[in-house]
């Protein structure tokens, strides 16, 4: 299981980093080709960069969830006694998963609509569904990462404490 999760993480990181590098290169190429005429123009590439940007964002969200980097306010929960703290952590997990599953589900409906109606981007005529899919993939992966973190820190740690006692 852990191996699958790690392999998945490398895949996510790889795709995300690739997308970032693509944006950097396209961006640079579009400036250069505008200033120096070499017969190729990258000005139309904005939509491709936007596609990359959407994927950078939505692939980064689960990766940040795994690193627990998402901004939150822990001053109150930090002050709680251990039991209440754990209860709060479970509420936090439940709310997060409920929201992400809803988001993923309606994201899927959105993408299916985009796919069926053959919606396209205005300038290059790229199909819209590869853009929207990022949100569905992101929601699913983030749920997986939250469960992974919860397993390590909430459930596994607890069993560890029990055996110590």
């Amino acid at each position: 299981m852990r191996k699958v999760l790690n392999a998945l993480r490398y895949l996510e990181e790889g795709l995300m980093a690739l997308a970032v590098l693509c944006v950097v290169l396209i961006n640079f190429a579009s400036i250069v080709t505008r200033e120096i005429d070499i017969g190729i123009q990258f000005g139309q590439a904005q939509e491709v960069m936007l596609l990359m940007f959407v994927w950078i964002t939505f692939l980064g969200i689960p990766l940040a969830a795994r690193k627990k980097s998402h901004l939150g306010l822990s001053i109150l929960t930090d002050a709680l006694p251990p039991k209440a703290k754990k209860a709060a952590a479970h509420v936090k997990l439940a709310v997060s998963i409920w929201f992400l599953i809803t988001l993923g589900w309606f994201g899927l409906l959105m993408v299916m609509k985009e796919y069926q109606s053959l919606q396209k981007t205005p300038s290059l005529g790229l199909p819209l569904w590869p853009f929207g899919s990022a949100i569905v993939v992101s929601a699913v992966l983030t749920v997986i990462r939250l469960l992974e973190v919860a397993y390590d820190e909430l459930w596994h740690k607890q069993s560890g404490e029990v055996t110590q006692q």
Binding site: N27, F58, L73, V95, F99, F106
Partner: protein, 429 residues
């Protein structure tokens, strides 16, 4: 039919309950908006559509790139070179190293656009250096947290990019308008740093010889040039603010790989992954805050709040005072991006009605949010600085209070004197 008032109440109460339960801000914003949508019977498809649409904006594309540029230049060793140069130039004055912290904070702000990133990059070197020179550890962390907040006022700034997209004002104008207010913040913080240094007898080393300064300058010039490239390129008409970020990334890679030789090709991969993740943290908030903001607007909550503000008083100064107080309080609990999304739809129509320039207004809002970065209980800069100094956050608080007061003085000057912000963008047009 549930009234807008009830929806607003449920929306904000749910959000704050989730916030205090340590639910990530993005999820708290999204989940409370989702509950409000459920209550109003609006199609829930809007959840996905608005969260997607808030991200897919060309203006925001520069966020991952500016984050990447900041990380590349920092890992390339720009920060210690800037620190060395500033120490040699500032030399034997009271509070010298504290002044170096402020000066480098301002210069580094011209490269990076995120407060906590600046604190992390510079604090790792400056906090131990100050402690070594006998400064109180908590003061060292406090001044670093404060000076790091200037990052979002001196261009490039993630806050300006988000405000520009939301309020539909030119990001280029915002960048220019932030320069003088950013310097002013640096000056007021520097004045206090000097006073503190004098009171506690912290004297700097002798000034470097002309030759030493020249060598350090030549070494640091590549870092000093980055802000010049960003602003020169934008206002020289070579590239847009969106494109500037990508140019600095390429510049940073060249400097790191070939000039300083501090970065290896294989490092670029990890740096890129780190930048992608940091940018996603910001963008997740943008995405969910976009949904939250949609609920506020579509339910007429924003409009009602704006009308209430105007009905209360049509005096411009009263409005600005109210905005400053609201934002300073909000900044204690929330990050800048969420605050922008929640308050811009409410404030902008009022600011427009009162004839306040929206660029000037954006600077006022951003300075408030910069102060929020180091205001307890939840200034993110404080967390980063406390971590670096390995001191409890509560011990730093006493030492940031003078910086908060100094910054509020700067905020008042910036608020009542629009020309301070607007002269540079006007000159550029």
């Amino acid at each position: 039919m549930i009234t807008a008032g009830t929806i607003a109440l449920i929306l904000f109460i749910t959000f704050f309950v989730l916030l205090f339960l340590d639910v990530p801000i993005a999820i708290g914003l999204g989940a409370s908006a989702l509950i409000a949508l459920l209550l109003t019977g609006k199609p829930l498809l809007m959840t996905a559509m608005m969260m997607y649409a808030s991200v897919e904006k060309f203006g925001l594309l520069s966020i991952p790139l500016f984050v990447l540029a900041g990380i590349i230049l920092e890992r390339g060793g720009i920060s210690d070179r800037l620190i060395r140069l500033s120490s040699l130039v500032i030399g034997p004055v009271w509070g010298s190293l504290a002044l170096v912290t402020v000066v480098v904070g301002v210069i580094f702000a011209g490269i990076s656009g995120s407060g906590p990133a600046d604190v992390a990059a510079l604090g790792a070197i400056l906090i131990p250096a100050m402690v070594k020179r006998g400064y109180n550890k908590n003061f060292a962390a406090g001044i670093m947290a404060s000076a790091g907040s200037i990052a979002i006022i001196v261009p490039p700034s993630i806050a300006f990019i988000v405000y520009g997209v939301l309020a539909e004002v030119s990001i280029g104008d915002m960048f220019l308008a932030g320069i003088v207010p950013g310097l002013l913040l640096g000056i007021v913080m520097g004045v206090y740093a000097y006073m503190y240094g004098k009171k506690h007898g912290h004297m700097g080393d002798p000034r470097g010889s002309a030759k030493e300064i020249w060598v350090a300058f030549k070494d640091a010039i590549w870092g000093l040039m980055a802000p010049g490239i960003i602003l020169g390129g934008i206002y020289g008409g070579i590239f847009t603010p969106e494109e500037a970020a990508g140019v600095v990334v390429v510049y940073g890679v060249i400097v790191g790989l070939f000039i300083y030789k501090t970065i290896k090709v294989k490092d670029i991969w990890n740096i890129t992954v780190d930048a992608g993740i940091s940018s996603a943290v910001v963008m997740f908030v943008v995405s969910a805050a976009g949904l939250f903001s949609f609920v506020i607007m579509s339910q007429g909550i924003a409009m009602k709040a704006s009308q209430a503000l105007i009905a209360f008083s049509t005096n411009k100064w009263f409005f600005l005072l109210a905005v400053n107080i609201i934002l300073l309080i909000a900044g204690c609990f929330l990050d800048a991006i969420s605050i922008f999304y929640i308050t811009v739809p409410i404030f902008i129509p009022v600011a427009r009605a009162m004839g306040i320039d929206l660029v000037h207004f954006g600077i006022i809002m951003s300075v408030n949010l910069a102060i929020g970065l180091f205001t307890p209980p939840v200034g993110v800069n404080l967390y980063v600085a406390a971590n670096l100094a390995k001191v409890p956050l509560k011990d730093i608080i006493r030492y940031v209070v003078p910086f908060i007061i100094a910054s509020v003085v700067a905020l008042i000057i910036i608020s009542v004197w629009p020309a301070l912000s607007l002269t540079l963008p006007h000159l550029a047009h």
